[in-house]
Symmetry: C3
Subunit: 680 residues, 3 copies
């Protein structure tokens, strides 16, 4: 059933029968096991090009027809993927231009999925051909829920075709070489371009140190990725424009981080998809942070993806137990439902897995699946999946409900990229998304909803707008921020805001006058200290440690709320508040820990009367997230810990699964458990 008209929360995941065509007894069991697992949705065809077109021009749809039939019988949905994420080997061999060229300018053989050139006309033609046939055959199939274009778009190609597109993209953008040379300041180190063809792709053998170019290259990669996506989208829409189109976005996790993918500007990409979806692989039960911290970061990413279109999204992939990683720890009992309900709580319209049946070989063979290698429904993992599916069956009412927030955090891929590019102050020390998470943490821990908002979208409706490290600045954005505050908004910003223009060039004559007026400060000097070195920040009667970065400033019209307590700038302003029109603009000079942010936001929330309404007292181990529909609000009360938690509700609710009324008062949450309550 089409995603936009379906009334069920989706439950299911990637299903690759094309890898099991020689095992008809397995395929038969699959359908039976899907029923037992309360699965209503399968994602088909992600890597099935080989099975669909085993040799050039010969198409085999019989097996796929049969799966569609089975799913239709089941009353289920199909999310149908175009197979462009992994082309067949015959294609790579016959048309080498479809293979990517790496940053040493060597062309790859076939060998890597997601390793095709976005520019290749041949590849585009072959993709269109198979997409067209899929769309014509299945575009009106009643089981078809959504199109899943390609898979996990990412990466770059340095081939001649991409180089030509790059040069054309620059021509279109700049019009003249003079304009480009000025924008990138190519008079630096005698780098002036005198011919468009001199502008090579930034491989390891060519120019890589031009900051404006580096930023434009990121934009070009995003644009080429979107262009490829749009080509596929148009092809499938031709058969039936009503079916929504998505592609699965990603997050990255390493060294304890969990943040959205850096490589592509999803804020721009999201404008081209009908539904945002993403692949959620946090490391639950890890050894480097409390469980609730993992939950907070995951919540941040969920909210970021919700914010891309400010509408419900879909978790396209997640894992029933182990992730395919060096540790690959099994999810503890209860964690599967907990982490899956968290998806729904933050706006996902379902929980899909990679994958239904565990692979027997190659890279994903120990990534967990609904059905494991033992093919046994008594398996704990299967049992927990089935139990979660049964619970989802009772929660169709959640479908379509929205997230509401009075607080916004702004995010901006341009600022991310530019700050990660600049060597001074340390590329790896910037931690842009991670800093946003630090600001987000207070609100999450107190169950106060936050909208994550791309800078391109209107943010004027929020009570509080938080925009730290908003590095890339334009006069228009300065004006939007100023107008917002003048109109009564509360703005919070920090060091590293407003440093460069969109060419990554430092703004002439120092910090922009409009920002100086907005914040009531004049920056004087920027300090940066070594690891282990700190300053101190006196604020609200307390003293906090600062580290890494410190903007020094004088207050012109601002009130000084906090001061530095050490070094040669002892006693100077560190945190300020400026009254502008009906609103207030706060500026935080140094990098602080969460201890300061907690106190800072506690005061702000107190001022603005922001609090979560359901529980008497909030705590990090219990997360309450709400989705609001036409008639009622759903509260997901989640115990993000291995200990029992006792909380107290402030109002009468209804258990959304059983329909039983629950009086205000004590509520006990077993370890890792979830209660879904309705407002009425």
């Amino acid at each position: 059933m089409r995603f936009d008209v379906d009334q069920r929360l989706l439950h299911g995941g990637d299903y690759n029968p094309d890898q099991w065509l020689d095992y008809p007894e397995i395929l038969k069991q699959d359908i039976e096991l899907m029923k037992q697992a309360h699965i209503n949705t399968v994602t088909l065809g992600v890597f099935a090009w080989d099975a669909l077109e085993p040799t050039e021009g010969q198409f085999e749809f019989g097996w796929l027809d049969q799966v569609f039939d089975e799913i239709n019988k089941l009353g289920g949905n199909v999310v149908l993927a175009t197979p462009s994420g992994a082309r067949p080997r015959w294609l790579s061999e016959k048309y080498p231009e479809v293979n990517r060229v790496d940053d040493r300018l060597q062309r790859h053989h076939h060998g890597f999925r997601h390793d095709h050139c976005y520019s290749s006309p041949v590849y585009r033609q072959k993709v269109q051909e198979i997409d067209r046939r899929l769309a014509e055959r299945y575009g009106n199939n009643p089981a078809l829920s959504m199109w899943h274009i390609s898979n996990e778009f990412s990466g770059e190609c340095f081939c001649d075709l991409c180089e030509a597109n790059w040069q054309q993209w620059l021509r279109d953008k700049y019009g003249s070489l003079k304009a480009l040379n000025d924008a990138w300041l190519m008079s630096f180190w005698s780098g002036l371009y005198t011919d468009w063809q001199q502008i090579k792709v930034p491989s390891q053998l060519a120019t890589t140190k031009t900051h404006g170019m580096a930023l434009d290259w990121k934009r070009f990669v995003t644009d080429m990725t979107i262009d490829f996506f749009d080509m596929e989208k148009a092809t499938v829409k031709a058969a039936n424009p009503a079916v929504p189109v998505t592609t699965n976005f990603m997050a990255e996790g390493s060294n304890g981080d969990f943040v959205p993918l850096e490589g592509i500007d999803y804020a721009k990409f999201a404008q081209h998809v009908d539904v945002v979806s993403w692949d959620a692989y946090p490391q639950w039960n890890n050894n480097f942070e409390p469980f609730a911290e993992t939950a907070m970061k995951t919540a941040f990413v969920h909210d970021t993806f919700y914010g891309l279109k400010n509408q419900p999204f879909l978790v396209m992939e997640s894992t029933p137990s182990r992730v395919n990683s060096p540790v690959a720890k099994a999810k503890r009992p209860g964690v599967h439902a907990l982490s899956s309900f968290q998806q729904i709580a933050h706006g996902s319209e379902g929980s899909l897995y990679f994958q239904f049946r565990q692979a027997r070989a190659n890279s994903e063979k120990f990534h967990s699946a609904v059905v494991g290698h033992d093919n046994d429904p008594h398996n704990r993992v299967f049992q927990e999946v089935a139990a979660y599916g049964a619970r989802l069956d009772k929660l169709g009412g959640v479908r379509g409900s929205k997230r509401q927030a009075r607080v916004a955090i702004l995010y901006d891929w341009q600022s991310l990229w530019a700050q990660k590019r600049e060597a001074a102050f340390g590329r790896d020390r910037k931690r842009y998304f991670q800093t946003l998470e630090d600001h987000y943490a207070y609100f999450w821990q107190h169950d106060i909803p936050v909208a994550l908002v791309p800078t391109s979208r209107d943010f004027s409706g929020y009570d509080i707008v938080i925009a730290p490290m908003l590095y890339v600045m334009t006069p228009k954005l300065e004006a939007r921020l100023s107008d917002y505050v003048a109109g009564g908004g509360t703005l919070v910003s920090s060091y590293f805001t407003g440093i460069v223009d969109p060419h990554d060039t430092v703004l002439l004559n120092g910090w922009p006058k409009p920002l100086q007026q907005l914040f009531g400060i004049r920056p004087t000097e920027f300090d940066s200290v070594y690891e282990g070195e700190h300053n101190r920040l006196a604020y609200a009667g307390q003293v906090f440690q600062t580290s890494e970065f410190a903007q020094l400033m004088v207050a012109t019209s601002a009130t000084v709320l906090g001061t530095y307590e050490a070094d040669f700038y002892k006693g100077t302003p560190a945190v300020t508040r400026n009254a502008v029109g009906q609103g207030r603009a706060y500026y935080i000079g140094p990098r602080t820990g969460r201890d300061f942010l907690d106190v800072f936001y506690e005061r702000l929330c107190h001022d603005r009367e922001l609090r979560e309404p359901l529980l008497e007292e909030t705590r990090p181990e219990v997360s309450v997230q709400a989705r609001t529909g036409a008639d009622q609000t759903y509260y997901f009360v989640m115990n993000m810990s291995a200990d029992k938690q006792a909380v107290t509700t402030t109002m009468a609710t209804v258990d959304a699964e059983s329909g039983k009324r629950i009086a205000a008062g004590p509520l006990t949450l077993p370890a890792y458990s979830v209660r879904v309550l309705r407002s009425k």
Copy 2:
């Protein structure tokens, strides 16, 4: 004298007069110094191709004739190497195809020894030519002891010739592309091969993530290496089939590890050599472990190489003092004889060094040698070598004696490779050989001999067979293990045994039924925890810490000997014993420390009445290893510590060097000292 008829223990090493031809006075001193050092064997010609064939087709054997003459006069042996390990530069320049292509698909210039293509017909022809001439000239020389084919075979080549051989090797193995695609599960990620020529060598530019291919590539490299070796072997055998042939195998040490080389399946290679030999470079007196621990690991590797053919081997290279490494610490007084006697004790027929005279320049110039840069026989190193040689002279009776054991540990390069390939659970966390060493440690510390046995060889004659992490499984091996136990054997295995088939594909429908019956268990789930995380194992009234890996299971017919004590599988079986026929099969679910293994094996040895007979009490610092000849047994009693050790013998013996009788009773061993005792 031919190695197989010689009655002396060999003492000597690599001798490179070809690098000193301009220093006749040095060459003259060499022979005199050899006498003083009690040297009876020299390895010639390892890198002498330049001296033998300075320009193409012009051969110079005069200098080598002369060395043979000198050695004959000395009554000594020559181990004669074929020079293929380091081709002359003129050959690389004239025939570039002989140079290896690296994994970025770039062909090397001449420059690296051991850097030739195994496939090149030109190289094979040139090697055959020089080998044939050497064999014809020296094959019947009375001094010739053994052929030393090439040097330290290792590495891979990615050239077109190797690619063609690779494709042919696969054709021969699989017969059809369908069979290959099925074996490697190439339907995964649309990887199906439609032409043999699409199967590229796994360079960095091509497919590297196909597990079945990765395993086959390792096998192909082993086979190509052996094929090259066999070609050389046949060439030298043509002149005199009676002379034994060897090539020097290797071990690897880094980060505190010391294990056999990973890259080549020596269990297979060993079937092609007449005598196993290896280059022994442990890091004695290091800063990261007790001396006895270094000794244990070295003993393990010695026993592994003994086990390859279950017959005495030869240490082809070792060092009189410093190894050519970043620290290059000098061996402490006594350690030279100690470490050399350990070689003999574990089955080496002598102690050879790299090298006799220290190099003056290039990579090995600070690697120690019998004769140092000072050319001075009063040098401590020279003195210790000479003293050791004098002791060996008195121990000819050891020659040909065997190692005997009732305990076997199985090892398997296929399981090593497959476990190091798989990313999930961490390639570097598997530590297969290191885990075997953990099991071996108990026996070594208690002086109970252990046979290290490749899985391909019959193991039915042992009382106990230990086979942890036997990852790659076949029905035949399942049957052999089951028959062994049914026939009265004691089998010990563990987590990660029996997971994949020889294509590195997970066995369908879960753990094999024959293994379930053999061990009396049914695995349920596999857990893996982060560094610093642990479970606890209750066993025999004690509690042990477990880490990293834990197989969860239910006991079907097995007796539960140990249980997990924490987390969601608290109370479930961790260690089991199953009675099958006349025997018993033990299964260890989690990764444990040696503390558990010590208790476990102590009970097992007690049950099976296994103990070392010579000493009243064993301790790690004193190692006793025995070799048994036709008439008597030699006990090597070695003090693996810098402290004096007092032990007590249980029986009367004879000092094998002095011939004096020694009554049972106290025996004092000075620091780092060795006593060789005979049973009569």
Copy 3:
């Protein structure tokens, strides 16, 4: 004004108006701000080729004429750079041969500054052309102070043209292949060359393990660099031979080190420049060492560059505040003048900055400058620069004064290179320059001047010569050292002295007899221990820890001053003194800490009556450095700490800035402050 006739200390730095030609209002402000900042010198044209020759053969000197005019009006100096450090893009595109080939043998596109091939005839021709025009136009301009050839020469090229030059260089050096094969010991591993063309550049694809070649390659790179420099020098001298020529040398800092650049033999290069200049970027106020330690290392590098020609040099680049590095910490108040005065104190004829006006974009945009992004002379950085300039204005008398010393430390790039090449004992553990700094530290801390002297220069006039780790030895150097001692000198040397000949080949028959006689010792064995392992050294009634390296020896004629206290060489000589003729030769066997060196040198200085004359007591936090002119001596008294320091002078002096007399007695130095005193 020509550098050699100017009587002012220079103050100024790199000025890049060519990057601001579109901002005439900025250019106008520049001149005014220069006046305010007391700037008398600007370095022009370093990266200005694009502005000078925007397209091939079209030259634009108008803008530069104008800057010269302005500087002339200001009465200032121009240091005029040739622009070869960064060629224009049109040149790289039209003549690809000018781009470097990297060590994977891939040719770069235009993209990196300093990335041109030194061998390319086209590049040399194009450089000569632009240099000639600059010289003809400005060679006699009254503002011209000095030529600045190219920029920060460094790096290597692996192209065919360089390969041909390399082969020719070797032909010229060795004459015959036989001589080369012998020198490099190519009989090792069958490496004999049979044709000059076989001698490839040592790329990653070719021979890299031949030590003699590695050393010759370093020499070749130095020679090619000098050859390129000489070509440019000759071109600019043609127009006016009187103008001095320099090029800016470099130091390297990482992991807490600060030492001269490793890649080029500056001792050789210095013979080709008229004035030594260098770019000084120490990390002041870091987190890994006391401030005085940074000052000591910086002093060492200053003295090294002074020593290259034994005459005053020029700091060509330094930074007013932040360095463009991952931390980029701002200089603390006072540190700018302190670090700049230190330059003068050690022999610099001025303090120049990179750069006058801060860049807005690309790699150096956050490197600090005299005029910052805010374009505001009230900026703290600008203020401190201006104040320092005003002080320099009063100190013209310092100009031309010399550094005097009775102690010399020898340094030798050949020994540096050879010790970093050898793998045994660890390339990274050698730390040659850092060890020289350890010896230097005692003298610096006690304000005793030290001359840093290349081995090629006469050192016979010094009371004490310190030459640890003088690894590369020749009979001539042995004789010079012996003669020096015999003539009454005091020589100090150590482990790793005299190990190899200039081909990096170990000296035959052990340690050279002349050295044995000189030091009165015979080395026996060399030990090297692991990290965390130590021996002890008993010396002068104290016990010191030793580490890493230990030369074992017997004393033949030497007096044993210190002995090892542990391990198998307990009680053997560790530190010795040998009387030879009128002098003494000390040998230090082990690597020690500074604690030992302090005691050792304290005794030596006491013996030789060496002490600083100005202060009653020295301490590390207060550095006194002297420059002596025709009539008087200038003492720079520098507080290298953040604390106030009280010292006592032993004689009456004159404040060199105010001209006021200062009686002997107490002198208080505020934090980071500097006093400049004259002897009369």
